[in-house]
Amino acid sequence: MTLLFQLLVNGLIVGALYGVVAMSFVLIYKASRIVNFAQGEFLLIGAWACWWLLTSWQLPFWIGFPITLAFMMAFGVILQVVVLRPMIGEPIISVIMVTIGLSIFFQALMKWMFGVFAKPFPQIFATQTMNVFGLEVQTVYVVSLAISLLIMAGFGWFFKYSRLGLAMRATAFDQQVAQSLGISVRQMFAMSWAISAMVSAVAGVVVGVVNGVSSALSFFGIKVFPAVILGGLDSVIGAVLGGLIVGLLENFAHYVDSQWLNWGNMYEIAPFYVLIIILMFKPYGLFGTKDIERV
């Protein structure tokens, strides 16, 4: 029973991280209708950048981390301006192909720069584990949950109250109307990529601290697909819930597997099976708008 409970807590924590990455994925989709297959590489690049600052430059975490975020923000803007802006007006399938290309390119670039083996982060927290309600939980997980919740609250505030957040929502709703209000759609696109890259990098660093940094991190981007599609491609709340559901499912499947089935690696595929079943009954996801097009 303790194992189940432990796994559920794990599921919640990992699920919150999925939720955060799913949100940043939805952000790009909502603003510019681009399905970003390179989302996982944002995690990877963010994690490697932070790792590099912490090991090669020996910077303390509290300096290296903000620099990583600033770098990722600039990276998102540059990527949008240089690679994706010229693609505006092209068929959506071409744009998606470009993101797949970017994914492969950055994957290879990171391997070339940092090697193919997982590298551990230097120790960041003084204590490795914490005791939460009688459960042993890794400190970094607790911190990651706090960060995830903070990011979610930040997103909520940003889109509800800030001037730029409202402008981004207006852009997602109708680009022509947004322009008639004096909003530069190009700037909004660039901003959505910047925020998306930055938030993904936070998740990348957290996962990197737990598991070490390696190209396996970009699989996180793939895992986010079931979360996003489950929630309905264009819903931020749906993305968060989808992330939590996928996280919980994974760990629950792991429990079932380890207790009775012993097939091994159930947790890797279980979310995808459930995804298929849910889509059979709710083809637009749990919170998606009906008229959106699946790609």
């Binding site: 409202l166 402008a167 929502r169 709703f173 022509q176 322009q179 209000l181 004096g182």
Partner: protein
Amino acid sequence: MMNADTAVAPAPTPTTAKAPLLSVNNIEVVYNDVILVLRGLSLEVPEGEIVALLGANGAGKSTTLKAISGLLKTEDGEVTRGDITFGGQRINGIDPDQIVRRGIFQVMEGRRIIGDMTCQENLRLGAFTRRDGGVKDDIDMVYHYFPRLKERTGLAGYLSGGEQQMLAIGRAMMARPKLILMDEPSMGLSPLMVKEVFSIIRQINKDLGVTILLVEQNARMALQAATRGYIMENGKVVLDGTAEELRNNEDVKEFYLGGGNEERKSFKNLKSFKRRKRWI
């Protein structure tokens, strides 16, 4: 195009010696590089006035407004000839968001409010280009003009057509523009609501001193509110004058206001009948 004896003599000379706030000189607009919509259109909008732009469907009224506001770009249209000057500066070819910053705000046809946001959020977005601290006060000012918007706390998509039009006008007021381009504010509204909307248009013109270029199908209401008017046909201005001149013009009476000279409606009057066909 028109016979000189029936048309009001073109009177492009503004009453004041001052240059008009907006002047459109002989513009040509092409969509998708091939479809010619405006063929040498010129008009002037003096500061502080309400100017009506009338014409049949497809005459190019909305295109004219989009050419001025720059939104033409978002529909693959382009001003290929002529120029548009606003406050003495040439503005054609500028991105629409920059044109809003210069003080021209278009209230698009069909209201186009943001349905999944509240009234308040829509109004805040109207003030997107402003960086001063007066936004809160201006929201109160808009609520003062449209008290019923304040009561609606739900999503703007659930507002009635008239309320959405009020919100669209309120959103334009939030930008504190010098010139508002209004595209068919009466569309789809009940006669009572049309009256209300037009009285508000006159009110904000008077209170805020904002200049308004008004595109309308409802010629009667438009010529009541406006000081001057232009009549378009086939991408060109065919008639212009003060609102009063246009109201009393036989052709305008016949084709836009209804009624007019009974005799002229007869098929026997062939010349006029021909002209009618061309007008509609």
